[in-house]
């Protein structure tokens, strides 16, 4: 059973994240826990002590419950694995992180609608919540049908860990899987190509040993945007990132460009 945490609010990003998590429940056994953190306004947070504060917090929670109940009710009809939402007051990212750290979650799922500016992706990755994330995290950019999964390899991606994360979450599912090695146009050369082919081969072999036969395995190269377009029939991309890598890589550029949901892990 994969335990998933999905932060929700009454907005579009939450709606697509929740629906995507529910879609996952059609392929794997999941327990979806939603969390809503009601921001305490700066005025309100200083309001009184004792019963005054307690009453104020209770009112805030009731309001938040009503707001979220509607969203959860709408989804629960076709998503039975959806549990009762956790509703709390405070600083959003801090509260979510605390829940992930204490709740033994296997996956964190959040809606991230792409913006024209590529900074949205970097900012999110650099946030305290993501930097301290103890489990893999899935950024749902769009609600895409989850039938095919693409494992994305690249120069800095640990393919052992990639297989471990993929099989750990999707083991037992009947999703179709493909493996692509993203070859940066700047690192062209025989050495780079040889390494790409070797890594690809090793990954396919390791997947085969775990009972997965990739329908496709290929070294791909070109403009990030075009490659992202080429892989659009995959409803999920999975890859690993270096937590402290400051330099923007070709993989990073590709992940910004793809409209597909991306499941990432720190390595």
């Amino acid at each position: 059973m994969i335990k998933i945490l999905v932060p929700v609010a009454a907005d579009l990003a939450s709606s697509i994240a929740l629906r995507y998590a529910c879609q996952m429940s059609e392929s794997i056994q999941v327990e979806i826990q939603t969390i809503h953190v009601k921001a305490a306004s700066s005025e309100g947070s200083q309001l009184g002590t004792g019963w005054v504060r307690h009453t104020w917090e209770k009112t805030m929670l009731t309001e938040a419950e009503d707001e979220i109940a509607q969203l959860i009710r709408a989804e629960r009809t076709h998503c039975p694995s959806l549990g009762e939402p956790l509703i709390t007051i405070g600083e959003r990212e801090e509260k979510i992180l605390r829940e992930i750290q204490t709740g033994s979650y296997s996956l964190f799922v959040e809606g991230t609608i792409p913006t024209f500016s590529s900074s949205y992706f970097s900012k999110r990755l650099e946030s305290d919540l993501y930097q301290d994330m103890p489990c893999p995290f899935l950024m749902v950019k769009n609600l895409m049908p989850l039938r095919r999964v693409a494992l994305i390899l690249s120069e800095h991606v640990d393919h052992h860990r990639l297989i471990q994360v993929f099989t750990g979450i999707f083991g037992g599912s009947n999703l179709k899987v493909a493996v692509f090695y993203l070859h940066s146009p700047d690192s062209a050369g025989k050495d780079g190509e040889g390494l790409a082919e070797m890594t690809l081969e090793a990954t396919v072999k390791a997947l085969g040993e775990r009972g997965w036969a990739p329908e496709k395995s290929k070294v791909i190269s070109g403009q990030a945007r075009e490659l992202a377009g080429d892989l659009e029939d995959h409803g999920l991309l999975i890859t690993g990132l270096d937590r402290h890598l400051k330099k923007k890589t070709f993989l990073h550029e590709f992940l910004v460009a793809t409209p597909a949901p991306i499941l990432l892990f720190w390595q």
């Binding site: 907005d11 709606s15 913006t115 024209f116 950019k141 769009n142 609600l143």
Partner: protein, 291 residues
């Protein structure tokens, strides 16, 4: 729905005719194909029967339009006659020779005078819902007789306008919706374009500074649900109004741009007439202005 397809004697108008036919096939719209002659034509039978110039072109456009329906039943099939049993009031059936007219109306018209004014006048008088125009992509989306005609028509029309510039396959429809006042008709029109071109749909929400305004966010959810219910999985994107121009410039390379330009829309406020003109000129793909 009534579509007005304005044409001249150039090959880009053929693309407009084909696009109009595809739209009409999907929407079962009434269609007017309008030719313009800047020069006056004497109102004599001889002028029309000589079969020259715009008269001949319009005749050929009718044929071209109708040939687009060869593989499917056409709502524009002309009068079909045959014997049919009809129930009479006195309680008997009688086999009568019945002639049925076409289900949908295809009018071929020619107006004279200032082309832009003539097109807008026709659209106004006929209460057209959509004007379709072709234009020469190689010369900033112009018309031969009046280079600025496409822009004049798009800017002057009270209804929606589709500028057909693309000769290559449209792979994506990019839809900048005015989420505040988006109508069912607008969503349906975009739906039709997606279906006709078997294209992907990208829905763009406009933000100002920070993220999406709550009402825009809410509208985008409704729009997303609308398309999901029709088994269309749109991609979503948020664009800050300050970056809209560069975003559109990048997207025109491969997508049909669809802009909702309601009088009170944020989009209309963000994109001045000059900027829309520039977009129309530089677009390598078709542009749909929805009103």
């Amino acid at each position: 729905m009534r579509i007005l397809c304005a044409v001249d004697n150039n090959s880009y108008s053929e693309f407009a005719i084909k696009e109009t036919a595809r739209l009409a096939a999907n929407t079962w719209a009434n269609v007017t194909i309008l030719g313009i002659s800047p020069q006056p034509i004497p109102a004599t039978k001889e002028a029309a029967t000589r079969g020259a110039g715009m008269f001949k072109a319009l005749h050929d456009y009718r044929e071209l339009f109708l040939t687009q329906f060869r593989e499917s039943a056409s709502p524009f099939d002309t009068k079909r006659c045959g014997y049919e049993f009809i129930w009479l009031a006195n309680g008997t059936w009688e086999e009568l020779y019945i002639c049925r007219s076409s289900m949908k109306d295809l009018r071929i018209r020619l107006r004279t005078g200032n082309p832009a004014k003539a097109i807008l006048a026709e659209a106004g008088e006929e209460e057209s819902d959509l004007i379709v125009l072709g234009c020469d992509q190689k010369s900033d989306c112009s018309w031969e007789t009046d280079a600025a005609l496409p822009k004049k028509v798009v800017n002057g029309a009270n209804c929606s306008a589709l500028l057909v510039t693309a000769r290559r396959k449209i792979k994506e429809i990019l839809c900048c919706l005015d989420q505040e006042s988006v109508s069912q008709e607008t969503l349906e029109m975009v739906n039709q374009m997606v279906t006709i071109h078997k294209a992907k749909l990208k829905i763009v929400g406009l933000s100002k500074g920070k993220g999406l305004e709550p009402d825009v966010d809410k509208s985008m959810q409704l729009i997303l649900d609308y398309y999901l219910a029709r088994e269309i999985n749109p991609h979503l994107s948020i664009v800050d109004t300050s970056q809209l121009e560069s975003f559109l410039a990048q997207e025109t390379e491969q997508a049909l741009i669809s802009l909702v330009m309601g009088k009170r829309s944020l989009l209309a406020k963000t994109l001045s007439k000059k900027k829309v003109d520039k977009l129309l000129e530089k677009s390598r793909s078709s542009v749909l202005i929805l009103r």
